[in-house]
Subunit: 420 residues, 4 copies
C-alpha cells in the first residue's frame, strides 16, 4: 500500500483552488508577474518524512516568512537578553507594517512586524559585522535549515528597494531612537535581501520540521538550533506571527504560523510537523488566501491544533517484566515530565523484596532534561529501598547516569544479557 | 519507593517563600484579611493523579480564574457562534480592567478582561434565564470540574459589590452598546457571585487537568466539556489570559494560565497537566507574585512549555509481529495525526504476499478523529492490496469501523484468539 | 427706517430651511416629539440689542449648551485652580460621549465632553452641597444670564434618566478614579436636570452676549460673571466646544460655539455678539444640521470670525484740541493695550512748552486694566515734562487716578468748565 | 515724553531672566553653540510701530516658526482646497514630531507638526516646481513679510540634515502614502532649508503684525497676504500651534503662537499686535522657557487675550450732527458687523421730516465687506423714507456705492462743502 497523505493533500488543493480567490501582490513587477494559480503544499514530520502536493517545488521569495528563522539566528549570535533589549515579544494588535514601537523603550513590539524584523537583521553576527556578512549569515542559516543552498533573487531585491519607503521610514525612525546605528538604507537593503531568498513550499516544511523537532534536524540529525532558541522563536511566532489576528488564528487554526507577501506560509506544530505552503493570491489582510484556507482545513481535518495536543507520552512504560531475579522496566518514546511522572508513579508499585531493577531505555527516543532527572531520582529511591539498579542503554541516551548521590546504575552492555 | 514530585514541589515553595514578596489586595476587607503567607500548589495529571505541597487545601475566592471555565460553559450553553457575536478573542494588550471594546462592534475584545467576563456570564443558559439560574449554572459547572460542591462566599460577594464602580461602569457601557440587556447592577452582581466561588489550589489543578485532557475528566471519566469547547477556551486563555504580557508569558513560561486578585492561579498544559496555585501576595500587575515565580520555575525545571512539547505519539506502533499466517500491528497510546502518519508509513512496508493483517488496538488510549480516519484508510488500502483485515478492539475504541468503502475488518472478539 | 438685520436673518433661515435636512434625536420620546421643522435664530449685541428671526421664542431643553455656563459657575464657586484639579482644558479629538480621561490623572480632558460636564456639575457650590442645591445653582445661574426665570422640564429629565447608561458608565468610572465621591446615579441625575433646563434661541443669544461682553450683562448692567472666569470659559469653549472638529470649526467658522442634542446652539464672539439658534434636525455628528449651516453663513456674510477681528480701538483718540492755555486729549471707546499704546504714541508729540494737558474721558466706554495703567503712566511722564495734568471724568471711569508717584491729576468736575 | 512700552518690556526681560532657566537644544552644534542667555522681545502694532527690548536684533534660525507663514504661502500658491487635500487642520494632541497622520486619508493632521510642514513645503508653487524654487519661494515670502532680505544659514542647514532621521522617516512615510511624490531626502532638505532662514525677534514681530493686520503690511501698506489666507493660517496656528497643550495655552495665554527649537517664538493677536521673541533656553516640551513665561506675562499684564478682546468698534459713530438742512453722520474706525449694526440702530432714530443725510466717512479706517453692505442698506432705507443721501468719501473707501437698488448717494467732493 501507499500512504494516503499525499492524496489527501491533493484533495485539499483541489477543493480550495475551486473555491478561494484573492489577488497577487503587485507593488513590484516580480511579484505581480507570479503565476497566480500556483498552489503547493508540503508536510514534513519530525521523523524526517515529507509529503507534498501541487507546486511544492516552485521557488518564490521567502519575504516575511524569514522573520522567525532570522530571529532564531540573531538569538544564537547574540543571546536572548541582547536581542530582547532591542526587540520585544508582545503581539502588536496591528498590521505588519505598523510602526508599533513600545511607548517608552521605542523597541519594536516584536520581531514579526517589519520594524522588529529590520532590527533583528541588524542584530545578526555582531555589532561590527558588515552588511554583506549579515545577509550571508541569513542566507546560510536558512540554507542549513532547508538542507540545500538557497539563493537571493537580485531582481526581486532591486525591485523591492524601489518601493521601500515604508521600511525606510521605519529604519530612519529606529535610528532616530537609537535602536540601531546602521545607515537606514543599508539596514533596509540587508533586510530586503533576506526577504529575497528563494524557497519552495517543501523547503519551508523542512525548515519548520526542524523547529518542530526542537532544533534537531529531522533529516540530518544535526542540532541546527539550540532547543531554548527554538522555544523562544516559536513562542513569539505563536503570539505575534499572524499580526492583528493572533487570537482568532490561535483559536481557529492553532498552528503557530507566519505568512509572506509573495504567498508563502510556514506552520510549525511542536513535536509533530512543519508545514510549507505557496499560493500567491492574497486576501485583504495580505495573507495567502488559499494558504489561510488550507491551514484551517488541515487543522480541522487533522486535529493539528496546539490546544488539542492529545496525551503526550501516554505510554512511556512499554512494559514491566518480572522474572525470578529481575524486574525489567522498558521505557519508550520521549521521556518528558508527564511521562517521567507516570514512570515514577508506576515504580511506586515495585515494593517486592530487594531484587535487580533493570531500566531498558533502548526504545527511548530521547530524554528531555526533566525526564532524565526524574528517572535518575527514581533509580536512587529504588536503590535506597535496597534494590540493585541496572541500565541497558545501547545508544547512550543517559550518559553519566549519576543518581545524584554518586552512585551509578550497573551498565548492561549486551542485549543478549538483557534478554536472558 | 515514593514519587519525588511532592518533595520537588515543597522545595519550590520553600525557595520562593524565601525570596519573593508582594502585597495582598486590600480593596475589600475579606481579601485584605487573607493570610498573606499562604502558599500552596497542586499538579493534576491527565491520568488523574494529583500532587500537592503547602496550603493546597486552603479555600480562597476564585475571582478571575473563573473566566476561562465560565467561557467554556457559555459556549456549551449557546454555541461558539453566538458567544463570538458578543465577545471577541483577540488579546487586548491592556490591563484587566480596561474597557477594550472593539472599535466598531463594541464587543469586549476577549472573555479574559472584565468587560468580556461580565458579558460571558450574561450568555450563560439562555436569553431569558434568571440571574439566580446563571449564578447556579456557574457554580454547578465549576463544581463538576472540581469534583466537589463549591460554595459562594456571601461575605466576599457583598464586599466586592460595595466597590464595584469599575465593573458597574463597564456594565452600563455594555448595556449602552446593546451588548447585553440585563440591568447593569444585576449583571455585575451575577459576575461577582461567580468570582466569589471558593476553591483550593487542588481544585484548580483538577479543574485544569480536565481541560488538559480534552474535557474528559481524569478522575470521573466523564466528558464534562466537549473537546472543541476546550480547544476554544484554552486558545483564548493562551492568547489573552495574562492580559498585557501575553507575549512574554508565552515565551518565558509557555503554560496557558489565568490569575485572580485573591492570589489564585490556574495553568493548563494540553495533554499533560493542570496546575493550581494559591499565594495572595500580589505583584505590581495584580498577579500572585509567588505564583508567577512558581510558574516560571515549574516551566523551566520540568520542561512544561507549549513550544517544547516533545515528539508526540512517537511510538504509536508498539510492535509489528509476524507469524506464519498473520501480521499483527499493535498500536498504543493516543493515535493522532503524527502517530497515524507514522503508522501509515510503517504499513507501506507490508508488501508480503496476501495474508491476514490484524490491528490490535487493545493498548490504544484513544483515537482522535484524524487517527481513526487515517487508520481505517490504511486498512482499506491493505485490503485493496489483497490482505484480509482483522481488528482486536476489546474496549470498542473503533466503533463502526467502516473502511470508507462499505467493508469492515473482521472482528476478533477474543484475546486468546489474538494470542494464537 | 428700520434696521435690516432681522430681515437678513429671515433670509438666512429661508435659504437653509430649503436646502438642509437632518433627523431629530429620537433616543427619548420628548426629543423625538420635537417639531423637526422649528428653526429660530437670535443675535444679541454687547450693547444689549437683540435681533431675532423664526422660532426664536420656542422653548427646548438646553442639553450640552449648558456646559460652558455651568463651567463658569463652578469656577465662580470653587476657584479656577480647584476646578482644574478635576477637569482639564485640552481638546479631546473625540466625540462628546467618549471617556477621554487623561492618562495619569484620570481627569476628564475638558468640561465640554460629558465626563467633564458631569464632574463640573459636582463642583458647583461646595463639597458638601446637596444634589438639589447644585441643580438650583445651575438653574438660578442660567436664569440670571438669560434675564428670566428658567424652569426644568421634569418629563425630559425622567426620559433621559431612563437611557442614561453611557453617563452612568462615566459616573461610575469617575467615582472609581476618585474624581468625585457622589453616588453615580445622583451625579447623573443632577447633570441631567441641568440639561433639562428649558431655553429659547433668544435666551441663548442673551446669555452669550453677556459672555461676549466680559461678563457684564448688556441688558442689566450687572457683572454677572467676573471677566477672568469668562475668559476661561470662552477659551475652553473655543478649544473644545465642537468636540472632534475643533480645528475645522475654528478655521471655517471661527466663532466659539457649543451645540446640544435637542438642536440648540450657542455662539459667542468676544466683544461683539452672542448667537442663539434652534433647529432640532441633527447631522451625523449630532449637531444641529441647520445650525451648523447657519453659523457658517453668519461667519461668512458678517465677517464674524475670531481671526478677522478688525483693528480694535483703532481710534481711541477722538481729538487733540489745542487752545491757548490748554491741550485737550479726548479719548473714546474701550481703552485696552493697542488703544493705550496708540494714545501714548500720540502723546509723544506733545512737546510744546509746559501747559495744561486735559484728559477728557467722558466718551470712554471703559478702561481695561492695562489701558488704565498706561494712561496714568502717560500722565506721569507729561507731568515730569512740566505739564499740568487735568482730568474730566464725569462717569468715574478712572477712580483713584494715582499716576504711580503719589500725584493725581486735577479734577475738572464741570462740563462747562471743560468747554471753556 | 517718551512711550513707556520699551521700559515695560525691559522690566519683563529682567524679571524673567532672573527666575526662569531651561537648556539650549544641543542636537546640532550650531544650536548648542547659541548664547544661551540671549533674550529679546519685540512688539509690532497694526499701525506699524515696533517696540523692542533686549536682543531683539540678534539673528537665529526660524525653525518651526516658519510653519504658519509657509502654510499661508502654500494656500496663496495652490488654493485652500488643494492644501486641505494634503494637510488637515485638527489639533493632534501630540508632540511636534509625532507622525499624526489621519487614520484613513493619511493626511498629516495639521501643518504645525513636522509631517504637515514637510508636506506644506512640497505644496509651494506647483507640482512641477524645482526644489530650489520652493526654498526660494519660502525665503522670498518670509523676506517680504519681514521687510528685509532674509538669508539661509547653510551651516545650520547642513548640521540639521546630519540628524534628520525623524524627518526622513516622516518623509518616507508620506511618500509611501502618496501624500507627495518628491524624493524623501529632497523633501526634508527643502523643509530644513526653510527652517534655516535667519530672523530676529524684531522680524518675527513685524511678520506677525502683518497677519494681525489682515495681511495688509503695517509698514509698507501692501496687501502681502489675502485676508482669507491670513484667517486660515491664524486659525490653524490658534488650534494647533502649541502642539499638545493647545487648550491650556488658549486659556492661560490666549495669543495664537508658534515656537521653534532655536528659541524663537511668534505671537499674533488679530487686530492688535505681532510679538517676536528669542531666548534659546528650552523647557521640557521644547519651547523657549523664557518665551513661554514672557507670553504669560504679556497676556496677563496687557490683557492680550483672544477671549478678552474688548468691545470692538464700540464707537463707530463719531457724531451725528444736526443742522437746519442736514443731518451729518460721522463714522470712524473699522466698520465691521458690530459697528455697522450699531450704526443702523442709531439711524433708526432719524425720523425727522425728510432732509439731507450726509455720511462722512473721511475718518473711517476701512469698511469690512459686511460693514459696507450694511451701511449701503441703511442709506437705501433712509432714501425710501424720503431722505436725500449724500456721501463724503475723500479716500474712496466706499467705491461704487450702489445702494442695492441702482441708486447712489450724491457725492460731496469737497471738505469745505461738508463743513458748511
Amino acid at each position: 500500500m501507499h500512504t494516503p497523505v499525499p492524496e489527501y493533500l491533493q484533495e485539499v488543493l483541489a477543493d480550495l483552488r475551486a473555491h478561494v480567490g484573492g489577488a497577487v501582490a503587485d507593488y513590484i513587477p516580480d511579484l505581480a508577474a507570479a503565476d497566480r494559480d500556483r498552489f503547493g503544499v508540503a508536510l514534513a514530520t519530525t521523523s524526517g518524512r515529507v509529503h507534498t502536493a501541487g507546486d511544492a517545488d516552485v521557488e518564490f521569495s521567502i519575504q516575511s516568512v524569514s522573520k522567525p528563522f532570522v530571529y532564531a539566528a540573531a538569538i544564537m549570535d547574540r543571546g536572548v537578553e541582547r536581542v530582547l533589549e532591542s526587540v520585544g515579544v508582545e503581539p502588536s494588535g496591528e498590521a505588519f507594517d505598523e510602526l508599533s514601537l513600545e511607548h517608552d523603550s521605542h523597541r519594536p513590539r516584536n520581531p514579526m512586524i517589519n520594524a522588529g524584523a529590520i532590527t533583528t537583521h541588524q542584530l545578526l553576527l555582531s555589532d561590527d559585522a558588515t552588511a554583506a556578512a549579515r545577509v550571508e549569515r541569513a542566507r546560510g542559516f536558512l540554507s542549513e535549515l532547508a538542507g540545500r543552498e538557497l539563493r537571493i533573487n537580485e531582481s526581486i531585491l532591486r525591485s523591492e528597494l524601489d518601493t521601500a519607503d515604508r521600511n525606510l521610514a521605519l529604519a530612519h525612525l529606529l535610528r532616530n531612537y537609537g535602536v540601531f546605528s546602521a545607515a537606514a538604507h543599508e539596514a533596509v537593503e540587508g533586510y530586503t535581501a533576506q526577504c529575497s531568498i528563494m524557497v519552495t513550499a517543501r523547503d519551508l516544511a523542512v525548515m519548520g520540521s526542524c523547529l518542530a523537532n526542537g532544533g534537531l534536524h529531522p533529516q540530518t540529525g544535526a542540532q541546527v538550533v539550540p532547543s531554548d532558541v527554538v522555544r523562544q522563536a516559536l513562542s513569539v511566532m505563536a503570539a505575534a506571527g499572524m499580526y492583528d489576528a493572533a487570537g482568532s488564528w490561535f483559536s481557529e487554526v492553532g498552528i503557530p504560523a507566519k505568512s509572506g507577501v509573495s504567498g508563502g506560509m510556514l506552520g510549525v506544530l511542536p513535536g509533530q510537523i512543519g508545514i510549507g505552503l505557496f499560493s500567491p493570491r492574497l486576501d485583504a489582510h495580505g495573507n495567502s488566501a488559499r494558504g489561510v484556507a488550507a491551514f484551517r482545513r488541515l487543522s480541522a481535518d487533522m486535529n493539528l491544533h496546539l490546544m488539542t495536543a492529545g496525551p503526550v507520552g501516554s505510554a512511556p512504560i512499554r512494559a514491566i517484566e518480572r522474572s525470578t531475579d529481575r524486574i525489567t522496566v522498558v521505557l519508550q518514546g520521549a521521556i518528558q515530565f508527564a511521562g517521567a511522572e507516570a514512570v515514577l508513579d508506576r515504580l511506586q508499585s515495585i515494593d517486592a523484596e530487594p531484587t535487580t531493577v533493570l531500566f531498558d531505555v533502548s526504545r527511548v527516543d530521547r530524554f528531555l532534561d526533566v525526564g532524565r532527572r526524574m528517572t535518575l531520582e527514581g533509580m536512587r529511591r529504588l536503590r535506597l529501598d535496597g534494590h540493585r539498579i541496572a541500565l541497558y542503554d545501547p545508544d547512550g541516551l543517559l550518559p553519566d547516569p549519576d543518581m545524584g548521590d554518586g552512585h551509578f546504575p550497573e551498565n548492561l552492555p549486551d542485549r543478549e544479557l538483557r534478554r536472558s
